[in-house]
């Protein structure tokens, strides 16, 4: 059962529109509707706020501002991040553009939206610092990253290696603000009754957001129920508690009536976190035959000092290539923007976009094949931690990918292949993604009638979690997956580390498998020699008239020796062909191949889909996505889906996605790792390098838009 590419068990509900996402839940009866009004300045104070007209508007039930908002728990910068309380409307201070200044609740959506516009707000505007480039000199070095890793690592003497050369690369790359922008806007339906709050919440972390919400509202955790049965994508942005959840909950309690609110798409830009803009300096030193002697990656990234998210972008090379002289460092630049957050592939996406583009520059400088350069610097031992890199299959990914893609047909000289109106180029890059493990519980119950129920609070945000949880239980119990009912994402179920960070599948699978083992043991104990191991369900009916239940618990990585004795990662290699319009510089992807090694795959179909989607994120990071801040005002200028470009169908050809047959015995007893992030890792650089190969133009300021290529393209016939 493990490995089978079965269809998603929640598929029929989703494709027929019967899967109810949080805003759509009918459980609480007819709710009121909330609408958030955001600040029109990036920094300063509310000078005056007049809610009289809004309060008098038809259907309005409540207008909350900093003047009348109920007392809330204070923000605490907990290292656990996703359980931080996030009080709203707490003062007249404005710290970022669009910050909520009022929350209007009315009996219909139309009335709430209209009344929100009637709140009159005047501001005392203050000058803010809104752009990274002009404030980069403020950068402050960081000792520790948000995920707990050291901010700086240093081995040998990089400066000396750079001086010695003989071949060096020292380049600066910029990666822009990105947003997760899941298709389901962040939403919450809050129902307060009998001193208990139930939220139907679009979240990736049930237990953590429950604590965050309880602490914000001054409630005990057991006074809060979180239900996230279906979540319309997250990509990091639903790990955190945001304004919509807090405001809906506050209003529901005030009104003793259910209140629901969804962010508008524009508010998904202002009220959820972004990936910070980054300035990367990458340094590489190599022998003339391509052996790396030094590597360095310095990243300066935007942060809001009150809640800094120090994304681990300069960590990508730490376990990737051997080199005696190494230096990786992170600095943050405090700007008056909303706190940054994790966006899919935190660290790896921007880090590898820069670093693997630099590796391509090195290959070009050395005149060696980029695949050969990676193979030459491969390593079995983590160069910085000194422990084995378990499941290190980078070379396998490279060789398999090169073969499938036809890398041998690569134009050797950049800018040399023309097909019709297009310059054609091939590019490649590798990906690496840290593998984590977080404490996660699951309970498995077998009813006397043979029904098997698996429960955990891990949400399925499109990750296939419902399906793979069923497969793991079916395999462990030796039954068909159709016998298993999976119930997820409810705070009554055992808490998990959540869906995010590519660890949901492995965390949950281990817990389910352990629970199933316990059940098997119980049966053996009860049945003694009479046990029928091939028909576990019959045994349950016979020996457990009340049914049988067991909980499995995955331990956090700090307590797992595997994470001390090994450097845990997943790997991939991506190959891309692009066509660049010779006249306009428009870049279009023609084809792409990705080969990945991510341990044992639970469901070949859903894992492949997730990796494929990740690869398309990589394409997008190279060619499309960037959120722009107006440096005068601090607002997101292109804050909608017409201006913040993400790929559409027409941008994406067929994509070959290959999973190596793999089993990582040092990851966990099931050999499973994760795939959620891996597809985005290095795929952007593969595209970026293909653009260079097509045109001979190296763009180091991402994304690679046509205006950055135009001046370097060959001259056109413009005279008769």
């Amino acid at each position: 059962m493990i490995g089978a590419g079965i269809n998603r068990i929640d598929g029929p509900l989703k494709v027929t529109g019967r899967a109810a996402y949080s805003y759509e839940r009918q459980d609480a009866g007819q709710p009121f509707y909330g609408f958030i009004r955001g600040a029109a300045i990036g920094k300063g104070k509310i000078a005056g706020i007049d809610t009289a007209e809004a309060e008098a508007a038809p259907g309005v039930r409540l207008v909350l501002t900093h003047r009348n908002v109920p007392k809330q728990g204070a923000f605490v910068n907990k290292p656990t991040i996703f359980d931080r309380p996030h009080p709203q409307l707490t003062s007249d201070r404005i710290e970022y553009f669009g910050e909520p200044v009022a929350f209007v609740v009315a009996d219909t959506f139309e009335r709430a939206r209209a009344a929100a516009a009637l709140v009159k707000v005047t501001y005392a505007r203050e000058d803010g610092a809104f752009d990274l480039a002009n404030h980069a000199d403020r950068a402050e070095p960081q000792a520790t990253l948000s995920i707990g890793l050291p901010g700086e690592t240093r081995f040998g003497d990089l400066e000396a290696a750079m001086s010695a050369g003989p071949v060096t690369i020292d380049q600066t790359y910029t990666t822009p603000y990105h947003f997760s922008q899941p298709m389901e806007p962040h939403a919450c339906l809050a129902d307060w009754r009998d001193d208990h709050l139930t939220v139907y919440l679009a979240t990736q972390t049930v237990a953590q957001n429950r604590i965050a919400l309880a602490e914000t509202l001054g409630l005990a955790a057991d006074q809060v129920t979180v239900d996230a049965a279906f979540v319309g994508g997250g990509f990091g942005s639903k790990l955190y508690l945001h304004a919509e959840a807090v405001l809906a909950a506050l209003a529901a309690r005030e009104l003793a009536h259910p209140v629901k609110v969804a962010l508008t798409r524009r508010q998904v830009f202002t009220l959820t976190g972004h990936r910070p803009e980054m300035i990367h300096r990458v340094r590489l030193a190599a022998t003339s035959d391509g052996q790396l002697t030094g590597l360095g990656h310095d990243v300066n990234l935007q942060a809001a000092v009150a809640e800094p998210w120090i994304e681990q972008a300069a960590t990508v090379a730490r376990s990737l290539y051997a080199a005696p002289n190494r230096l990786t460092r992170h600095s943050i630049t405090n700007l008056d923007l909303k706190a940054a957050e994790a966006v899919r592939g935190p660290g790896e996406l921007p880090g590898l976009l820069a670093f693997e583009t630099a590796m391509d520059e090195l290959a070009n400088a050395l005149d060696v094949d980029p695949v050969e350069l990676r193979l030459k610097n491969d390593t079995a031992i983590d160069p910085e931690l000194g422990v084995p890199l378990n499941g290190r299959r980078l070379a396998d990914c490279l060789r398999e990918g090169a073969k499938r893609f036809g890398w041998g047909q690569r134009p050797k000289t950049p800018g040399s292949r023309r097909e019709g109106d297009h310059l054609v180029g091939y590019g490649m890059a590798v990906g690496i993604r840290m593998h984590f493990q977080g404490a996660t519980g699951a309970v498995v119950r077998i009813d006397p009638d043979g029904r098997v129920i698996v429960r955990s609070d891990t949400p399925d945000i499109g990750t296939g979690t419902y399906t793979i949880a069923g497969q793991i239980a079916a395999e462990a119990l030796g039954i068909g997956v159709n016998r298993v009912t999976v119930q997820l994402a409810h705070s009554d179920f055992p808490p998990s580390a959540g869906a995010g960070g590519s660890w949901g599948a492995s965390n949950l699978s281990i817990a389910i498998d352990l629970a199933c083992q316990k059940i098997r043991n119980k049966i053996v104990e009860a049945a003694g020699p009479g046990a029928a191991p091939n028909d576990i369900l019959a045994d349950v009916g016979r020996w457990f008239p009340e049914g049988v239940e067991a909980t499995g618990q995955t331990i956090g990585q700090a307590d797992d020796p595997n994470f001390k004795n090994y450097s845990q990662n997943t790997y991939g290699a991506a190959f891309a062909e692009v066509a660049v319009d010779i006249a306009t510089g428009e870049v279009r992807l023609r084809r792409m191949t990705g080969v990945f090694a991510a341990g044992r795959i639970i469901n070949a179909k859903t894992a492949r889909s997730q990796l494929m989607g990740g690869m398309i994120w990589g394409v997008s990071s190279a060619l499309h996505e960037a959120a722009h801040v107006d440096p005068r005002h601090g607002n997101w200028v292109n804050g909608d889906l017409a201006e913040y470009l993400m790929p559409v169908h027409a941008d994406i050809p067929a994509i070959e996605t290959v999973l190596l047959d793999d089993y990582d015995e040092h990851a966990n007893h099931l050999g499973i790792k994760g795939v959620g992030e891996l597809g985005v890792c290095g795929t952007g650089a593969a595209v970026s390098n293909a653009v260079f190969n097509a045109t001979g133009i190296r763009v180091r300021d991402f994304p690679i838009t046509l205006s950055k290529l135009l001046s370097g393209l060959p001259p056109m016939r413009t005279a008769a």
Partner: protein, 327 residues
């Protein structure tokens, strides 16, 4: 969205009368732009006159050998009409390069012409914008203006007109027929329909209050190779960075420009008849045309790349015409 009253009259005359009866009334047809703007309170009509029930949804031949396109003909139907595809290919091509299938199914001929700019500062009601709030200033000047106008802009506004369809209609010398509330009708050359921003960028067309577009007429077919080249970062469902509508005659490998219009450059579809005349009858050279078209160009901080882009895109489009390519 502010509250409004709603009615659905049964004829064009009734619609025009309804519009003047209620101050603050607006017509709604496809609604794909108006409702978006109403949600943001950029448009705040007090009364909506739904014109979807007044006919004006046919494409008919004119006595002059051209076509009369009802104002309510949907973009999809206009692009798909066999006569448009055969005789006015540039129009069909322009329409299908814009928006999405869903939007084209709803959007109308008149509504497409009257759609408002996509300048992000116009859309952000917390920003200054002379078009949205006259006198408040132009945030795009000195701001993010990579996709703004390089031609015909003013100190008050550097927004572009987002329509692809209108660019083709400009190349085709279309005329816009309107009905005034008095019942009087008139015909406006499309060149005159849209205004340049000047000091009053909020006044976007020469239509009077309550004046309803009834139809767009196309003169008799011009023949030739008809191309529409739209340049954009995303392969579909994105507004033009630059677009070129070209009608050309090809004789013995020589490309002679008949009509040429540009999108993405200005507050209105941009055509320079002087450039067409300058190269009339000769094998077209992109540089000599572009020199004339771009003579008065004044790029903003971030959109100077459009100057070479116009030149190169025009060159490529002329080459396509020469090769007989169809788009």
């Amino acid at each position: 969205m502010k509250a409004f009253t709603y009615e659905r009259p049964g004829s064009a005359a009734e619609a025009a009368a309804a519009a003047v009866r209620t101050p603050g009334a607006k017509f709604i047809a496809g609604g794909t732009n108006l409702l978006d703007l109403m949600k943001l309170q950029i448009e705040t009509p007090t009364h909506l006159v739904d014109v979807n029930n007044i006919g004006l949804d046919r494409i008919e031949p004119t006595d002059q050998g051209g076509l009369r396109i009802g104002a309510l003909v949907r973009n999809t139907d206009l692009a798909a009409d066999p006569r448009i595809r055969r005789d006015y290919g540039v129009l069909s091509r322009a329409i299908v390069s814009g928006a999405s299938g869903q939007l084209r199914n709803k959007a109308t001929t008149a509504g497409n012409l009257l759609q408002r700019t996509r300048c992000p500062y116009f859309y952000d009601t917390d920003m200054p914008c002379n078009k949205r709030a006259p006198g408040s200033g132009c945030a795009a000047i000195g701001g993010l203006n990579a996709n703004h106008a390089i031609l015909g802009a003013s100190e008050a506004c550097i927004a572009t007109h987002p329509s692809d369809m209108a660019v083709a209609m400009r190349a085709l010398d279309a005329n816009v027929e309107t009905v005034a509330p008095s019942g009087a009708s008139r015909s406006i050359p499309i060149a005159d329909l849209h205004r340049l921003p000047g000091k009053t960028p909020h006044v976007e067309t020469m239509l009077e209050p309550g004046e309803l577009i009834a139809a767009v007429t196309l003169p008799k077919p011009r023949g030739g190779v008809q191309l529409y080249r739209k340049v954009r970062e995303r392969a579909s469902y994105a507004f033009a960075t630059v677009s070129v509508a070209l009608i050309a005659k090809i004789e013995e490998g020589r490309v002679t420009v008949d009509r040429l219009a540009f999108g993405g450059l200005a507050h209105k579809p941009w055509r320079v008849e002087q450039a067409e005349r300058a190269v009339a009858g000769s094998d077209a050279a992109a540089d000599s045309i572009a020199d004339i078209v771009l003579a008065g160009a004044r790029p903003a901080e971030q959109n100077a790349y459009k100057l070479p882009l116009v030149r190169r895109t025009l060159s490529a489009t002329l080459e396509h015409a020469r090769e007989g390519a169809s788009r």
